[in-house]
Symmetry: D2
Subunit: 358 residues, 4 copies
């Protein structure tokens, strides 16, 4: 029986806690939250003891692993403290929105040998994974074009969440950057270009953020990647991946609650709105993610989604952000001057060419 | 917390036990099976005590309800004993394959006031249910045509299961007969006609059974119903429902494990084989069925799928069987003479016109 | 250049005339209609001379073939006169609605050796044809289940057309009976059963006709066939064919004017209403039909759709009509007694068992 | 009757000639080609006189309009000579691959008042047009994201055609640039960015061309546009358009020869390869294009697709070409330095910011 301490029992932490409890070979033994009522409620629902002191969890003998689902700006601290305590870690994405903090965390982690899995849940979606497998197996030949559509349903999240989330590229696109890396199968992106807009809600512009974007990447081998994002659709959570090569194309299409199809005098073959949002759309993926983490621990294998995956996805998102931020209004005629193509070395270091003075 | 005794812990009983255990407000407290190793294994997995004596379960104070998933020929006995013990019952379909036994059971049950839900799990499938709701709400106008496609994947079940199952009409078609009644929303079938064949495997003919069939029904109001069945497909479990009326059509299409779509030089838009069989295809429906049973118990409401639903579906399947069985080889030229249209009164009594001497 | 005389230049005759004129190697040289203005209008549009005297066409040297698209009750006379005149014939379906007239025509035609193609246009539809080819080639294994959905869009045709059309089975179902025979590839139907209703418009009941039907057939080899018909849909012309065998399933789905797909807050993946009716839906099939007729004439080969095909489809429709007509209200309780299973010999003679006195 | 002179009777000219001849109110009276056998063959097939002297056509009294389908590098000359002769012009795209020649042609045309329609056939495709109409009508709200997938089937065209075609951006992408402008409904692109690769065939690199590309554009109002191109697919001609706004999404999907769908043990819902190439895929669009040209002439209205449309699409393709061409191998580490974002004024003048010295 693998005993989990849940660090952070808000919406997503509560979901994870329920999924852990549903495993035959796992249990929740501790629920930590700075809000005692939240910790209590989760513990009452899934089992385990509630606490507002993280050290109670980290020092407990009946904790075999921790699941970090606290606010993003606490991830690095909790990762390091959990590593010090020797507890295997499943941490929600992102590691942090600040790349410097991530680099610092990376260095400090080198001293520990603690399994750490990063929560890129979409890698566990059966449809997206089938696309990755089609590329990995050579089914479609070497990857040439990769098109990722990733649009959140509206309305926008509350302002306080938006303020802390790091902006569209580091909050939302980071999933797509990771998906791109996942499907590229080691053929790392070396160029990033982004165009973005404010179309959805004034709150995004007020926060200096964007809400609508297109990103282009080039991989080392010359695969081209397109990502498009929006913070709002009218028709549900739009999540698609399309991989194209000389031998064929594989696509991961959208999911709906059922297979119902309608025919009327105005429309035929109509289906429902898409599943509303990530907890519904990726429920099976979240469960498979926890399952895989437990299976790796049991087998003594390293986790399949790593800290380095989290760091590189952030580097790509940061590149997109920098690329986009070089699109400045041009006083003479009101159009944009946009020069921010960002070059990466495809390896472990980010080289933002533009910031080097081009 | 609703405490369940599982009566019968074979494949389907074991599945039910797991689904009960996964409910937040339910638990398995007893696992009964005549095979002690099966009872033990299930109890070890989902909790509760194992026993080979059914009375231990029926007399236990910590049993709020029983779930009957034993072999079909024991259902009637276990229903009656559970009713005597005052335990609410969720019983797998069918009640029995012998209509006389069902009528007897019905009479005896009149003396008890115990909630009994019959396990027509497909009523809880979101896609099929949406078809029913479209009819019930008037979305497509009064129902005129109902087409049910229901084909099991191969290979055929083991011979011993086939011997006990009551034949295609009472084992498989009974689900479709119930689906027809569910979607007809009280507009009961009054005519049944069936044609059937042996195309799949010699075992069916050896057992005097058929493996491929088409059934036609007419409802009181004049809705026409078509069901087609096969014991074997090459492409997975084919489960479709199509309802047609003056205002439109609603269809429930097949389910697959993912939304992956493939394009190659030989085929485009290709999808995977369908989900293989009922435990995979109707997993969510089985869970919703148990959920609904618990919710009805909690609310003190009568179950939504009743003994009478089980009895009437059997009457329809029996009518199809009798209709089909009147197709006899005609010595003079080898063709069939088939005169078995069966008339029902649409109410509580089956009137098999043919058997009355036409 | 193949020179055609068009016999009958109403709506469908006018369409055929245009399709003939569009062929590179064919021309319309004569347009006959009893209504001179109609003949004139067609001739002005597609070329050729107009006439109200059919013999002018039949005796003309510049007529290599005739296309009969006059009212159904004139088909037999025009077939025989064209045959006497030695002109190859492409005749719209049906030959006639009266089987006795068809049998008479068949006997008289034996004296002539004139190519005659019957206008079962749906055999030339690429999607339906692909189903037939999948059966013929063995792709899906021996045919076991065939499901044909064939529903006309509303509103119903004018009363005078309905009065002459021979009723649902001989006007509409005859296409589906032919489709069944086409896909059965020589494995002739030997049993026919029909249930029907009046649900669409009172005019059908007033004419002693039905408007909604389900037909079941059994072939010699034991393939089961289901056809469902309605005289009215709200969503366009619904034309589907599904063939099932041990190795797989092939379906011919509906056609729409475009590949446009819509997503909104209420529906996703929505498509347009289906193509409205036969001239739009089967435009390419009508053209391929004429093309095939010309190609056969050029090659000196017998036409691919024969008088016998027309006769046998009528026999099946007649069987359905007789089967259905034995469903009579039963005075005692208002339900139906329906005993009309019709047996055929699968060969050239119709044996209506019921009418023989069962 | 509108009498056409066809200028250039190669593959596409021959197709156009056939479509003109098929119109009820149009005829081909002259077929010009420098290859007399080609001119003769087309004239024999569709009517009219053959000639190798273009002036015979331009001076003929029985020519009401010309259709220019000669090699691209002769378009400007033939446009100007036809305009001088006062003949209305339907000219295949592109005007020319050399923007300077196009600007020259534009100036000279100002002296004439001759109707000129440019052959952007895809604007007449019913599915793509429905997307444009959904944007124009406000159905999806203001356009925010536009994704155009446009991939030719392989193998690549012959080397001599590739040498003259102007490269991927001016030969292929120009259609997509026009589609973007069509759907943007006057909201002109003001920024263009392109990444491209050589992945398909060595011939493209040998010619200094690319074969795989992603283009991003921003419109004046802030709509973002993505185009992806490949010179080769394994599964047919891939032509899709997706428009997204606050109120919904409309997509134009791919076309196939039929609606046949297959189910087997390895794949379900499989469809055929896509229609192979432009003559098959856009047959109806080519016909509608000619139809619209004739209708505009008849009504005395200016054509709906103009010389200016051809010029602006070329400016966008040229911008993409220049953007891409600034991606140069970087000697130090082999990666790319790519700085070519191109700015346009969204009006009648192209301002290539990069070439101005950034």
């Amino acid at each position: 029986m693998h005993r989990f301490g849940i660090l952070g029992t808000g919406r997503i932490g509560g979901m994870h806690a329920g999924l852990v409890a549903a495993q035959q070979d796992a249990a929740v033994t501790w629920c930590f939250d700075i809000d005692p009522s939240r910790a209590d409620a989760t513990a009452a629902r899934v089992g385990g003891r509630a606490t507002t002191k993280v050290d109670e969890v980290l020092q407990a003998d009946d904790v075999d692993a921790v699941l970090i689902a606290s606010p993003t700006n606490t991830h690095v601290e909790l990762i390091l403290r959990s590593a010090e305590a020797g507890k295997p870690i499943l941490c929600e994405k992102p590691i942090d929105v600040d790349l410097a903090k991530v680099e610092m965390c990376r260095e400090k982690l080198e001293g520990f040998n603690v399994p750490l899995q990063l929560g890129f849940n979409r890698r566990y979606d059966l449809s997206h994974r089938a696309v990755q497998q089609a590329v990995a197996s050579g089914e479609i030949g070497p990857l040439e074009l990769l098109v990722i559509t990733s649009r959140d349903p509206g309305p926008p999240p509350p302002r306080e969440i938006l303020e802390a989330c790091g902006g569209l590229f580091r909050d939302t696109t980071i999933h797509d950057s990771d998906m791109a890396r996942f499907i590229l199968c080691g053929d790392e992106p070396v160029e990033v270009f982004a165009m973005a807009e404010n179309r959805v809600d004034p709150v995004f512009a007020e926060l200096g953020d964007v809400d609508t974007a297109m990103i282009t990447m080039r991989s080392k081998s010359g695969a081209l990647v397109h990502i498009n994002n929006s913070r709002r659709t009218s028709y549900g959570y739009d999540q698609r991946v399309e991989a194209f090569g000389a031998e064929g194309m594989v696509r991961s299409n959208n999911c709906r609650p059922s297979e119902t199809v309608r025919y009327s005098s105005t429309a035929t073959a109509s289906r429902e709105p898409l599943l509303y949002f990530f907890i519904e759309r990726y429920k099976a993926a979240y469960e498979a993610e926890i399952r895989d983490f437990i299976d790796c621990l049991k087998a003594g294998k390293a986790p399949n989604v790593t800290f380095e995956d989290g760091r590189r996805a952030l580097i790509l998102s940061e590149a997109a952000r920098r690329s986009e931020s070089h699109a400045q209004p041009r006083t003479s005629n009101g159009y944009f001057v946009h020069l921010g193509i960002i070059q990466l070395d495809g390896g472990s270091n980010a080289v933002y060419l533009f910031s080097e003075g081009l």
